[in-house]
Amino acid sequence: MSQEPKKVDRRSFLYIGLGAVALIAIGAAAYVAMNPPVVTQTTTVSTTVPTTSVVTTTAPTTSVVTTTVPTTTVTTVTTGKPTVTVWWEKGYYAEEDKAMWEIFYQFQKQYNVELDVSFYPSEDLQKKLIAAVDSKLFPDIWYTRVASWFCDPQYAWNGLYEDLSDIFEENKNRYISGMAEWASLFNKQTGKRSIYRIPIQMTTGFFHYWKDLLKEAGLPTEPDDIPRKLYDFFDFWKTAQNNLRAKGYKDVYGIGFCLGAASGTGDTMGHLTYLETRFYSEFINPSGEFVGDKPSNRQGLIDTLKLVTDLYKQGYQPTGALTWKDPDNNVAFHSKTVVCTPNATTSIPAAQYFSNKDNYFDKTGTCLWPLTVKGEEARTTLHVIGLAVFAGAKNKEIAKKFIRFFIQKNILYNYLRGGGGRYFPVYKDVLEDPFWTTGFTDSGRKDPHIPMVYKQLTIGERRPYPYDLHPAASRIQVENWWGKAVHRVVLDGKTPEEAIDEQIAYAKSEYAKW
């Protein structure tokens, strides 16, 4: 008996059809994921980005900016122009991002390229960079404030960075001193040091204080009247606390050093690193070498640790300072829990500037760090932030053009002014602008912060932040050795000598790995 060809019944047909549709949908989704659809520039960009030309005036702006800047915007193009991937860290203030958008638009226009720009918060950008290095899909232009210690030493060491000596050489007369030391990193593949990053901006530690609390404590309020001899300086803040406590301010502390030991608490590392130069000591030298075990350095580190832990044990630091993370000293200052606090940027007064001008101009001040233990001006530790280019980036030549474009006097000035003076330029011609020495003005009131910042940055010799210079030093920074040493003394009852020796042994073990 011959068998009839089997018919596909309706139910089977439906099943097969659905299966086929599902497969097609998955295939289409995969194709789209790998080949993003071509679209024209989004309206979000054109409506939120200012179209005016770059402002070159030096007149300070006093208005509070409320402009909304998109957190992440992607621009894909239909033209044959090269598309350059840009990952940029979001600024602290809307004005900073606004200035950056203008700069991107100018560059696009001038060089006939299309920028695919994404702004990210710092932590997200760190993750993106790790993934980029892991997958070898590098961004062309990128910037993050943590690159100096987080990426640069390690990536340069592993040969991931493009040599930028030519750009540095073209601009070498424009830099303030010490920039070559900072920009130069060791590449293990070539076996030599070279310039792998172009410096852009700098900051250091500043002491901010409440003038009205000092007045209440019956002490002078102007920075020039605050003692600068090392121990007199700290006695001044102790006296402020004692006087305030006597007047009933029971929860106010004299000083707010950040003493948290959590990984990545940069403020603890920064505050104590600024202080160590007051004792002529250094843990790592400007060549990135570990020198903390040299007897004079070791003694200076011990003295630094003793000074800070004594302040804590004597009750002149908030008890919670041992668990502070980076924003916590800012919070303590704004809530008037501390009379003064050091900070690595001018974020504290800048926040007051944007929220309460009376606090900025009248009630808070910025003073210089104390002198060395011998009464001399100490070296200023500079945090420098710059730009690097991945050697494996698809459009690295355009990225280099962008750096040349970005560091032009007027362009850079607009960007840094957008940051409200939070960071200062490392280019002498940009630093010559009167803004950096006079700051903001408001109804005849003079800026009590920015001129002091300028003074702190320029008053003494400078050295680069030591943890930016070697991959082992970067690791030591992450591990927050200063915080751990403080905890060993305050919480575990070790002597400063024992705590420093432990950390010296730790640092040596890290350096032995590289």
Partner: protein, 283 residues
């Protein structure tokens, strides 16, 4: 006449076609990351480095402490609180049960940060309360024991309601006749618990404990936001120290290696769960 083998082949093909989306998703989102994780963890020098890092060894110890104490206390509390919910006919129990479930509903970050502020040694509400009674301020987060204790306490506070609800659902399916019969036989409340409730909830209890153990091993938020690993990096868990290695130190391979060490234990737990769940229809 129906050709069964052709029919069977066709049905297999159809089944396979329908499985393709799942296979695709499984391969891309589960299998590939897993294999890539093993690839990243393949550098044996990482394990030498980890074995010589006292903070890592401490993190492993903390993980077992956190999971061992946190999960077991949480489960015991949940088991007994679920018994309390059986008395919902009383208005006070109904009110309390709503309040009791709130911690579960509060987002992790808001809850942890509030708890951190409560523990602040300078102006936290707990120390303010102590000082009202003339007691000394305690530096809760400056000490290893109180920091770990606070983290475990928060974990129990946050997650007990979830498991309470699970046990409550388990209790509801126990036939009430069993309790009635026990009462007629003169069984005490304790004996009802011992001979009816506990045996019938045993599998559910073990299953929930195993599931919670796996989830708690990966808990990141509590420690990261509450202590950040302080004091002195001593309160890290395997998950937080892995994050530190991968995204702070920038060594992804070391980060993956540091957590993959726990994989054999996790696999045993997963195997046990599957075994306890058994085959559908079988007991």
């Amino acid at each position: 006449m129906v050709d069964m083998s052709a029919y069977s082949r066709r049905m297999t093909l159809i089944g396979f076609a329908f499985s393709l989306p799942f296979i695709f998703v499984f391969t891309i989102f589960i299998l590939y990351p897993l294999l890539y994780g093993f690839y990243l963890a393949g550098n044996f020098s990482n394990y030498y480095e980890l074995a010589n890092d006292p903070l890592y060894l401490r993190a492993l110890f903390n993980t077992f402490l956190y999971v061992g104490v946190g999960v077991n206390l949480k489960m015991i509390f949940a088991f007994f609180f679920s018994g309390l919910l059986m008395y919902r006919k009383y208005p006070a129990v109904r009110v309390l049960s709503v309040a009791y479930l709130l911690p579960w509903a509060i987002p992790d970050i808001a809850g942890i940060l509030s708890f951190r502020w409560m523990l602040n040694s300078d102006w936290g509400v707990i120390n303010l309360f102590l000082s009202e009674f003339g007691l000394p301020k305690i530096m809760w987060l400056n000490n290893y024991y109180t920091s770990m204790g606070a983290a475990i306490f928060f974990h129990i506070w946050k997650w007990t309601p979830l498991w309470t609800m699970t046990f409550y659902a388990g209790r509801l399916v126990i036939p009430p006749e069993l309790y009635e019969a026990a009462k007629i036989d003169g069984a005490s409340t304790f004996n009802e618990l011992r001979y009816i409730t506990m045996p019938l909830l045993k599998r559910l209890y073990i299953l929930c404990t195993l599931l919670s153990t796996i989830w708690t091993m990966g808990d990141f938020n509590t420690i990261w936001l509450l202590t950040g690993g302080d004091p002195g990096g001593t309160t890290h868990l395997a998950s937080t120290i892995a994050y530190k290695y991968a995204l702070y130190v920038g060594n992804v391979s070391l980060g993956v290696s540091s957590y993959i060490v726990l994989m054999p234990l996790l696999l045993v737990l997963i195997f046990l769960i599957i075994k306890i769940m058994g085959v559908p229809g079988e007991r």
